[in-house]
């Protein structure tokens, strides 16, 4: 109790710090967002107020919901691939069995520093039908080459791999940092009790990393829901609409199809959907940890 009073009493400087930062943020992010909403309730060209007409159109837009579906699939992959794998690998680092820890750490994190555009282009070369690395490997085993980016049945999986590849390192480092902050005594105690790697990871480390885990999940989910650059470079959402994601769909509408107003509508729709998903997620994570 006395704590909160102390902090309340000292809230005076709030304005000195909060107001300038917030107004800068409001000018550069919130005001453009408002203008974007304004665009979305006017017709193309901005001559006539049309109310929520665009939003009704969006709710019925088959292609939009298709890209939402793709986004959700990509998000599930990313959560499993990026956060899941990263946690697993980080837990290996806690076993003390590993040689060359430092080098592994550097290697695993390295893809994170590449520009998304670079990753996208690099992987489209790796996926290239005629001279890509993957088909070269298949050829070694006398297997038929695969149309990694052309076949609508697995193009979505193909584009999810570079996403996972690039960002595993980020979550790995976050988890590693978290794990190294767990007190040595707790870990040693569990080792003396004879806990296996699995038991130690699942019952000791994991519960202690709940907070780090939820931060990682939120970062991963919000990041993947608005993924754009990788897809834009590799497929542009194609072939057809098979790897279309929301951000690419909004971009196409605003910039390729000259439908700025509908493009803005998609972006706002995207924001709302993301907010709902994140809200559900954080409720769920929050509820879990309260138990």
């Amino acid at each position: 109790m006395s704590n909160s009073r102390l902090f309340k009493l000292r809230a005076g400087p709030a304005f000195r710090y909060l107001v300038p930062i917030f107004s800068m943020y409001a000018f550069t992010v919130l005001l453009p967002l408002l203008i974007s909403i304004y665009y979305s309730v006017f017709n193309e060209g901005g001559t006539k107020f049309i109310g929520l007409q665009n939003y009704i159109l969006l709710a019925k837009d088959n292609d939009f919901w298709f890209s939402v579906k793709n986004n959700i699939i990509l998000t599930i992959f990313s959560v499993l691939g990026q956060v899941g794998f990263a946690f697993l690998i980080a837990s290996f680092f806690m076993t003390k069995l590993l040689k060359l820890e430092g080098l592994h750490r550097i290697a695993i994190f390295l893809p994170v520093v590449l520009a998304p555009v670079v990753t996208g282009y690099l992987w489209s070369l790796i996926y290239n039908y005629r001279m890509g690395v993957l088909n070269w490997l298949l050829n070694l085993f006398n297997a038929d080459p695969v149309l990694w980016l052309d076949n609508p049945n697995y193009v979505l999986y193909s584009v999810s791999v570079p996403l996972i590849w690039q960002y595993i390192g980020l979550y790995f480092i976050i988890f590693l940092a978290g794990m190294q902050n767990i007190s040595k005594e707790v870990l040693e105690a569990s080792e003396i009790d004879g806990a296996t790697w699995f038991k130690k990871t699942a019952y000791v480390i994991f519960p202690l990393l709940k907070n780090v885990m939820s931060v990682a999940l939120i970062l991963c989910i919000t990041g993947t829901l608005k993924v754009f650059d990788h897809i834009y470079v590799m497929t542009g959402g194609g072939p057809g609409r098979s790897s279309m994601v929301m951000a690419q769909y909004a971009y196409n509408n605003a910039f390729t199809m000259s439908r700025l107003s509908y493009g803005s509508t998609i972006s706002i729709g995207m924001l709302i959907l993301c907010a709902i998903i994140v809200l559900i997620m954080s409720r769920w994570i929050g509820g879990e940890s309260e138990k």
């Binding site: 902090f7 550069t28 690998i89 890509g132 902050n181 004879g194 910039f255 907010a275």
Partner: protein, 280 residues
């Protein structure tokens, strides 16, 4: 130590090392492949994609330096990053600190406004921001991109600082106040250093975001001397449409500065992230 576990330990030892080794390899290989492919001629690349260059050539790089102003592009990218990142850390820390420690009117709303920034698709802001900047006469200057870059990275950075500071015990501040330190002193001199681990994460994310940003750099600036590296890269690949290895050299050139920086600081980053460990 139990005797029965010695075999399992050995197996576990081999297994763990193997798995992590393969994993590192898969992370590293595409980058290594990119590096050595850039030293090949285009002809050699199309004959065999995987082989090491038989006679390494720097021709692709020589070409790269002849196209556009790569020097000024590196300079612009660097300047943007150097100015932006410390400001992001500072602003995000302050906001994160207020959110996690201090009650004030409108805090909830402010939190929602800041954190929803994590979910805004960046292209939605492109046209409106351009219109605003034009109206304010802020287009096409050396510092045009600074403001947007700070603002776009704030939400994630605030989110990270906020969740980190929540884990710091309040007793530390209590003690500082008891010793008679002021609010500012407590915030910047007592709490800020403790945040070193999360600061590294924020710094990495904002450096990468700033260094690699494309769309706003394209639209808000038009003078060629203000172009950043990603813009230079599109020029470069626009002129090398059939030249695979030339393009790859362009990719290497845009990535190399940041790879080198990372390799140089990797240990510092890691110790930064784990140092000053606050036991929750």
């Amino acid at each position: 130590m139990r005797k029965s576990s010695s075999i399992t330990v050995k197996l576990g030892y081999a297994g763990t090392n193997l798995i992590v080794f393969l994993f590192s390899l898969s992370a590293l290989f595409p980058i290594v492949w990119m590096l050595y492919s850039s030293l090949k001629s285009n002809k050699e690349f199309s004959i065999s994609t995987m082989s090491l260059p038989s006679s390494p050539t720097l021709e692709n790089y020589v070409n790269a330096f002849n196209i556009g102003n790569i020097g000024s592009a590196i300079f612009s990218s660097l300047l943007n990053t150097i100015i932006t990142v410390p400001l992001i850390i500072l602003c995000a820390f302050v906001i994160g600190y207020f959110f996690s420690r201090i009650e004030f009117k409108g805090k909830k709303i402010m939190m929602v406004l800041f954190l929803s920034g994590m979910m805004i698709p960046i292209h939605a802001l492109l046209v409106p921001l351009f219109v605003q900047f034009k109206w304010m006469g802020m287009l096409d200057t050396r510092f045009t991109l600074i403001l947007p870059y700070i603002a776009f990275h704030l939400p994630v950075a605030i989110f990270l600082f906020d969740s980190f500071i929540k884990g710091i015990s309040r007793e530390i501040e209590e003690a500082a106040y008891m010793d008679g330190s002021s609010f500012d002193y407590t915030m910047f001199r007592v709490i800020f250093p403790i945040c070193l681990p999360i600061m590294s994460t924020v710094a990495i994310l904002s450096i990468l975001g700033t260094w690699n940003e494309f769309s706003f750099a394209l639209v808000l600036n038009k003078s060629s001397e203000l172009f950043t590296l990603p813009i230079w890269l599109t020029f470069f690949s626009g002129q090398h449409t059939t030249d695979y290895t030339g393009k790859i050299a362009g990719l290497v050139l845009t990535s190399l500065p940041i790879i080198v920086m990372y390799l140089f600081f990797s240990n510092k980053i890691m110790t930064g992230m784990t140092a000053g460990a606050v036991k929750g």
